[in-house]
């Protein structure tokens, strides 16, 4: 394939990524870009071109040794839920934008430490980026079957590198605040992760099932090759130790690599996304590794005896069969793997470079005096140039130093260098005593060992002039042989270097931390990092600071980086969160911490501290003082926690009491209302009787007709009085269980007819139509007098609530499997839903009644309920489909035992 065509394809491909990134940036916050799957896939930036091509090379040349690099992350992934969550929380709260920020903040905003971490990262990662460019360049030439040009300006891959550098520097610096999320980049990376996996699986299937007849076929043919057995067994204890160390190495890498820190921590939107990542990420790695072996051994079989680069098997096999399209797909997959690593790494490194080296050491000029727009512009430009330069530098390293070792070994060197951050990084999370000096000396010590056992011999190996140093040791001391330090001779160079560098790193970190206590700031942050969960909502409170500061001065500093509007908003949030009076002039520790936090995202932790310190007058606090304050605040927190708990319990109790009280009050009110009703109901007939009697006794001239009328009234009012008393007594009897019932089988329809009969007068007065529905033969088991009472009551109610015109009452009887159900429906206004249960309460008077004076006594339904329950039936209220009220009750068909 010609170079031009491939360049066009690459151009289109980059254009598509550019478009996706642009689109995602616009869709920020939408579930399309902000979900656990995009997050997990972005973590797969771990799989670089090294994974894509190099694993195959290792598997082909040395068998299983490629596996530990994936086993480490798989083993540690479940622990992310705890460890990574904690890192994310700390970083989010403190607006940390890189691992250098993280470490330097924990050890007291140490400027020097931040710079060292940055240097370590640059040393490890820039050649690693070079490695990715090398992979792109070499595979480019493999696919186009052109030689690499010696003049870099003639080589097409140079322009690919420049295009990449431009793309990364444009998209990586959209925000001044480095802790802002970059949805565009993350989404593009996630997409690339999908593509590289798909393409790799496609070529795997092609080799396994297209070129060969499945896994068995490859195995059958491969086992006849020489070295097959030796390459596929773990060779005893030393080999196992090598393996173990490599697993540990990759466990460190998955936390510490700047690009992993960037996607996993800085770009994390929700802690909960981790829940998906812990299973999906290992699964991703597993699928990726499924076809490494078949491709490697497929290549070994195919190219046996020929000298070809085993790293490029996945391209060479399709090309061998003239399958160019497949080769281009594979190339694009590798390209994806490489560029996502390059972009994310260079963004991370460039942030570190500006925030932890250039700004704190004033290399960008004095930022504290200038305007916000100038400052922002300067920071962004420096980051842009940083990204661009890093990528170009990496390309130059590849071109001029050759990076002759295969993909894996250079990657491994990078891992070992980055692993030097391990002790101080994990120490930051779990160990309060870890100090700044300990971290600095630990990292330096580890790095020196790295240089001695790995970088130096490798660098020499490339020029191959001083084999003496490697074979005989420094100055001929055999204990100082770089690959067999102190006589440790059974480890491979990488594991060997890892072992000794981490050993000394850790010992130094520990020893120095224990011997020299850190200053108060370190101790303060140690507390916040280790106990992050306790401080996650109001971490500003945990910050200890003494001195004088004016709010105005701090605001001025903020404005210089954030602009007026954002500063004002941030200050509002602060004032509301801590209930601070806006007019207050003096700033307290919380505001100092809050301001430092805000600035951290823009200029890194160390500079933030320096900048704020320049406008406030800080008083020295001694370490014992800090420890005392911390101790007190710890106690306070415990007490607070207890108080909160107690107050919560009290609140619950209060709520319960209130509820009980309310229901008592309600009962009381109901009782009052009931008494009022009963009083009224009793007094009314008495009043009528008394008044009529008074006339009769005083007035002798009363006409005969009226006299008779008054006497008649006296009789009917007396009857009324009597009925009321009966009802009250009835209820009392039912409630105390004194009422006896005489159960027998009765035809229910007959009873209903009997009950309705006396109400005919009322029914025809109101012009109501009454329908009876049901078979005359239906029998039920009840006390006829009592059910008569129930039906009378329900029908009276129905009459009462029927509309004045076109009233309709339906009494329907249905046979159910084990009961007879009676319904009384009217076409009135129905019952309010909330009243379905309460209308059966003793003192209940429907609130829905149009009458302020209750017509009934409030006892009818309560009595009905008592009666039905004595029959072991049920009574309930509902509304009929037409809206009127519908009361149902059931009676047993047979004698209940």
């Amino acid at each position: 394939m010609s170079s031009l065509v491939l360049i066009v394809i690459l151009g289109l491909y980059l254009g598509m990524l550019f478009f996706i990134a642009h689109w995602a940036e616009k869709k920020e916050g939408s579930p399309m870009t902000n979900n656990p799957y995009v997050y997990t896939l972005s973590l797969a930036v771990y799989c670089t071109a090294w994974t894509y091509y190099g694993s195959i090379g290792v598997a082909a040349d040395s068998g299983l040794s490629y596996l530990p690099i994936y086993l480490g992350p798989v083993i540690i992934a479940p622990a992310w839920i705890i460890i990574l969550r904690r890192i994310i929380r700390i970083s989010r709260i403190n607006k940390i934008s890189s691992i250098a920020d993280f470490i330097s903040l924990r050890y007291g905003n140490s400027r020097f430490l931040g710079a060292i971490v940055t240097v370590i990262c640059l040393t490890g990662i820039v050649p690693y980026i070079g490695l990715q460019l090398k992979a792109i360049a070499e595979t480019f030439h493999v696919v186009t079957q052109t030689p690499i040009r010696t003049n870099i300006f003639d080589d097409n891959t140079t322009y690919v590198a420049i295009a990449l550098a431009l793309f990364a520097s444009y998209y990586g610096t959209r925000y001044v605040d480095a802790s802002e999320k970059r949805r565009g980049i993350v989404t593009a990376v996630a997409l690339e992760s999908v593509l590289k996996l798909v393409f790799f699986v496609v070529v795997g299937l092609y080799v396994t099932f297209g070129v060969y007849n499945g896994f068995d076929d490859i195995y059958q043919k491969a086992q006849h090759l020489p070295d097959f057995v030796a390459r596929n067994t773990i060779g005893g204890l030393p080999q196992a130790m090598n393996w173990g160390l490599l697993c540990i190495l990759s466990m460190f890498a998955i936390f510490l690599l700047p690009r992993q820190f960037h996607v996993a921590v800085v770009e994390n939107n929700r802690e909960n996304h981790l829940k998906t990542a812990v299973w999906l990420f290992p699964l991703y790695l597993l699928i990726f590794n499924l076809f490494v072996y078949p491709i490697a051994w497929g290549g070994n079989i195919l190219f046996e005896g020929k000298s070809v680069n085993s790293d490029a098997y996945s391209l060479l096999i399709p090309l061998h069969f003239q399958n160019t399209a497949m080769a281009v797909l594979v190339f694009l997959g590798g390209f994806s793997a490489a560029i996502s690593m390059i972009i994310v790494s260079s963004i991370g490194l460039s942030n570190m470079l500006t925030n932890n080296v250039l700004i704190p050491y004033n290399l960008l000029g004095n930022l504290s005096g200038s305007e916000q727009s100038i400052n922002s512009q300067r920071i962004i430009t420096s980051r842009k140039i940083g990204i661009f330069c890093l990528i170009i530098l990496a390309y130059l390293i590849y071109r001029f130093f050759g990076l002759d070792y295969n993909l894996v070994s250079i990657g491994m060197v990078a891992f070992v260098i980055i692993a030097q951050l391990g002790p101080s990084f994990f120490g930051a999370l779990f160990w309060r005593r870890g100090s700044r000096l300990g971290a600095i000396w630990g990292i330096i010590m580890g790095f020196v060992i790295c240089v001695y056992t790995l970088l130096l011999p490798y660098a020499m190996g490339t020029t191959n002039t001083n084999a003496h140093f490697i074979n005989e040791g420094l100055w001929g001391f055999s204990l100082l042989k770089p690959f067999q330090l102190f006589g440790l001779d059974y480890l491979q160079p990488v594991s060997h270097a890892l072992f000794w560098s981490l050993f000394f790193n850790f010992i130094t970190y520990f020893a120095v931390s224990v011997s020299f206590k850190g200053n108060y700031r370190e101790r303060n942050y140690a507390e916040m990092f280790v106990d992050i969960n306790r401080y996650s909502t109001n971490h500003e409170n945990a910050f200890i600071w003494k001195g004088t500061a004016y709010k105005n001065d701090i605001e001025k500093v903020l404005v210089r980086f954030m602009g007026e509007e954002r500063t004002r908003r941030a200050m509002n949030i602060f004032n509301v969160k801590y209930n601070v009076d806006q007019k207050q002039e003096l700033a307290d520790a919380r505001l100092v911490k809050f301001a430092e936090n805000l600035l951290t995202g823009y200029i890194g932790t160390a500079s933030a501290r320096i900048l704020i310190a320049s406008v406030v007058k800080e008083e020295k606090i001694t370490l014992p003082e800090v420890l005392k304050i911390l101790e007190e605040s710890k106690e306070n927190i415990i007490i607070n926690k207890k108080l909160t708990e107690t107050s919560r319990e009290l609140q619950e109790l209060t709520a319960k009491l209130k509820e009980a009280n309310d229901s008592l009050i309600q009962k009381d009110q109901q009782k009052d209302e009931f008494l009022d009703t009963v009083t009224h109901e009793i007094r009314t007939p008495i009043t009528a009787i008394r008044a009529a009697s008074e006339i009769l006794i005083e007035d002798e001239e009363i006409p005969e007709e009226l006299r008779k009328q008054f006497l008649q009234n006296i009789i009917s009012e007396s009857d009324r009085l009597n009925r009321l008393i009966d009802k009250v007594l009835d209820l009392e009897k039912f409630e105390t269980g004194k009422q006896e019932i005489h159960l027998a089988a009765h035809p229910i329809m007959e009873t209903i007819e009997k009950a309705v009969e006396p109400l005919q007068q009322l029914i025809s007065n109101k012009n109501i139509a009454v329908h009876l529905e049901g078979k005359a033969t239906l029998m039920a088991w009840y006390d006829e007098d009592r059910i008569f009472q129930v039906v009378t009551n329900l029908v009276s109610n129905a009459i009462k609530f029927s509309p004045d015109e076109n009233g309709l009452i339906v009494i329907a009887v249905h046979e159910k499997p084990d009961a007879i159900e009676v319904q009384v429906r009217d076409n009135g206004k129905g019952i309010a839903k909330g009243d379905f249960e309460t209308i059966f309460d003793k003192f209940y008077q429907s609130t829905n009644q149009n009458f302020k004076k209750p017509i009934g006594s409030g006892l009818g339904l309560a009595i009905c309920k008592q009666i039905i329950e004595m029959h072991k039936g049920q009574i309930w209220a509902a509304n009929s489909s037409t809206g009127g009220a519908c009361l149902h009750f059931t009676l047993p068909k047979k004698e209940q035992l």
Partner: protein, 120 residues
């Protein structure tokens, strides 16, 4: 002839009051509830109103409030006549502007005396 309006929903009680006041030379109007009373008051200006409290639709308290808002009825005396005999009810009734509060059961003689007193 002085006019009296009797507002009560119990016909048997109304009947005794009607008979008694007619005998005492009053022109008697009758309403079965507050709403009816307010209707009648649109066309009639009685000297005295006897008002029950627990009535359907518009109760006595509410009726009195309406009456007191009507300036034409300023001179009109209002007597509550109710089975509610709690102090709180009596206070409420008087606070709303009733001229007297009598409880049921009542003595017709005393009701007439009270009305005569108020009109004197």
């Amino acid at each position: 002839m002085r006019k009296i309006l009797i507002v009560d929903d119990e016909p048997n009680i109304v009947m005794t009051l009607e008979y008694t006041f007619k005998k005492n030379n009053f022109e008697v109007f009758i309403a079965r509830d507050g709403q009816e009373a307010l209707e009648i008051l649109k066309s009639q200006l009685p000297d005295v109103i006897i008002l029950d409290i627990m009535m359907p639709l518009v109760d006595g308290f509410e009726t009195l409030q309406h009456i007191r808002q009507n300036e034409q009825l300023n001179h009109c005396k209002v007597i509550f006549l109710s089975a509610k005999n709690k102090e709180s009810d009596i206070e409420k009734g008087l606070a709303l502007g009733a001229d007297a509060y009598l409880t049921k059961p009542f003595s017709l003689k005393k009701v007439v005396e009270k009305v005569t007193d108020l009109l004197a």
